[in-house]
């Protein structure tokens, strides 16, 4: 692939050196502060990672450059900047495996593709098993992954202990560690950089990124959506694409539509930074907790959502206590670290736990949402697939199982087997 040139300059070590000599005055804006224009071929509502990725791939892959991304606040300010940055594709259901591994492959080339270091770090995503039954479930998942040509490796307790020395390997621990399943191609990335990198690359291809622009309604021509009304005026476009995660229900409601989505709170936390102590993403098959160490040194972790509908970006302390207690149960040394910050995001919990990508009952209106609390890892893949839908009017085969009609037809993709309620695991 030819290297993209950037109006405001490509990023490279050499360019940094040049900056060092000149006081870094040569750097231009990473993306323009675009004003609403139009009409656009595609209007994307939501300037999170998924929306910005969609805009980028529309322009890059499909040559659709008259694209606007409308963001009510600042880009990347929703769940993109609020997650625990875990990237993996080791799901159990083949439809999700295909989709997320497509995304994972994009992650592996993303920094170069965007000329923005998103710090994708395939340090391994490890699920721990705490019983023989857990290990069978992990083996089943591993078998299913390998059968789909996705990497997975079952680990013995000794191998787990060697990889993550901080784990409590006592045989009589309450949640003894009987082994694990690792996806070595999984890992973490720098969440903000993903939003900024996609924004800069999309902007460079002519996409208008319009911040502080909240959608307040839809322009209609009969049953066809022809654009949006916003706090910065009306904007018209050929296709209008909702990509607003936790606000999916709200924005769909502006068009008079209801979705199989409920918005719930998910909290996360980070400790004070310390020198390297954990090199892998650690999750659990039975417990509801996960943690990894950021490049800055903080341990980032989380657990169960707050289990009731909320748009508040605010949770209850009990959820923090639970997830921290479980992390300490697995890695007792974490106890002496100090949590420095906790935060909450509004997750778009779908009614089978899988995302929804497809056309809405109103012509010209599309939805990409319902990513629950697993959207970050899907960012490039979700944008790539949504761009395909918006450019061609048809879902890509990988996205085909995720249409809105699956709920009426009974073809749900129920990873957790938890049924028609927001799935918390």
């Amino acid at each position: 692939m030819a290297k993209t040139s950037f109006a405001a300059g490509r990023y490279s070590a050499l360019a940094l050196l040049r900056g060092a000599l000149g006081g870094h005055r040569h750097w231009g804006r990473a993306w323009r502060a675009a004003e609403p224009g139009g009409p656009y071929d595609v209007i994307i509502i939501g300037g999170g990672g998924h929306g910005l990725a969609t805009a980028y791939y529309l322009a890059q892959v499909h040559g659709v450059r008259r694209v606007a991304v409308l963001e009510k606040g600042y880009i990347g300010g929703g769940n993109t900047g609020r997650n625990t940055t875990i990237v993996r594709s080791n799901y159990r259901q083949p439809q999700l495996q295909r989709m997320l591994d497509h995304s994972l492959r994009l992650w592996h080339g993303l920094s170069d593709e965007l000329n923005y270091n998103v710090m994708f770090s395939p340090r391994g995503a490890l699920f721990l098993g705490h019983s023989d039954a857990d290990m069978v479930k992990l083996a089943e998942r591993g078998d299913a992954l390998i059968a789909m040509n996705i990497d997975a490796e079952l680990m013995t307790p000794d191998a787990v202990a060697k990889l993550v020395p901080l784990l409590d390997m006592r045989r009589d621990a309450r949640w003894p560690i009987e082994g694990g399943l690792i996806q070595r191609r999984g890992g973490t990335a720098r969440h903000d950089a993903v939003a900024w990198g996609f924004a800069r690359a999309a902007d460079n291809l002519g996409v208008d990124i319009i911040e502080n622009c909240e959608v307040t309604g839809f322009l209609r021509d009969g049953d066809r959506v022809t654009g949006v009304t916003t706090t910065r005026g009306d904007i018209s476009g050929g296709r209008t694409a909702i990509c607003v995660a936790g606000n999916s229900g709200h924005v769909a409601g502006l068009a008079g539509l209801k979705l199989p989505i409920e918005s719930h709170t998910l909290q996360a936390w980070v400790t004070e930074p310390v020198k390297p102590m954990i090199d892998t993403v650690v999750m659990s098959q039975s417990l509801h907790c996960y943690f990894s160490q950021s490049d800055k040194g903080g341990i980032v972790g989380g657990g169960d959502p707050d289990m009731f509908p909320s748009y508040a970006q605010r949770g209850a302390p009990i959820r923090l206590e639970e997830s921290i207690a479980q992390c300490i149960a697995l890695a007792p040394a974490l106890s002496r670290l100090r949590m420095v910050r906790s935060w909450a995001g509004v997750t778009d919990m779908s009614f089978d736990g899988a995302p929804i990508i497809g056309e809405m009952p109103l012509a010209g209106l599309y939805l990409n949402g319902g990513w629950c609390y697993g959207g970050f890892k899907a960012t490039p893949g979700s944008g790539w697939l949504y761009a395909h839908l918006l450019a061609t009017g048809e879902n890509h085969p990988i996205a085909a199982p995720f249409g809105l009609d699956r709920f009426a037809s009974g073809r749900t993709v129920d990873e957790a087997g938890a049924g028609p309620m927001p799935q918390h695991r």
Partner: protein, 81 residues
């Protein structure tokens, strides 16, 4: 940490309660299939006040209908079901 005004027990911590579903999503046993699936899967999911069914699962075990704001977390009304 919500303090939910249980009409049977008085105000109690949210830990004692479990959210069941929004009132608009009730599926009646005699609903026609289309009606039932629409109720089950099409949620208003309002960014604001909505009606919800909760259960005081670690308390009296009774079911409650809460009218609450999903942005401010304020309760406007609670009634026993």
């Amino acid at each position: 940490m919500l303090l939910i005004p249980c009409p049977h027990c008085g105000p109690r911590n949210q830990e004692e309660f479990a959210y069941e579903r929004s009132v608009d999503s009730l599926v009646r046993l005699d609903d026609a299939p289309g009606v039932a699936m629409a109720a089950l899967y099409a949620r208003a999911n309002l960014r604001g006040e909505d009606h919800e069914i909760w259960v005081h699962v670690q308390g009296c075990g009774q079911w409650l209908r809460l009218t609450r704001d999903r942005v401010t977390h304020a309760f406007r009304d609670v009634e026993a079901l």
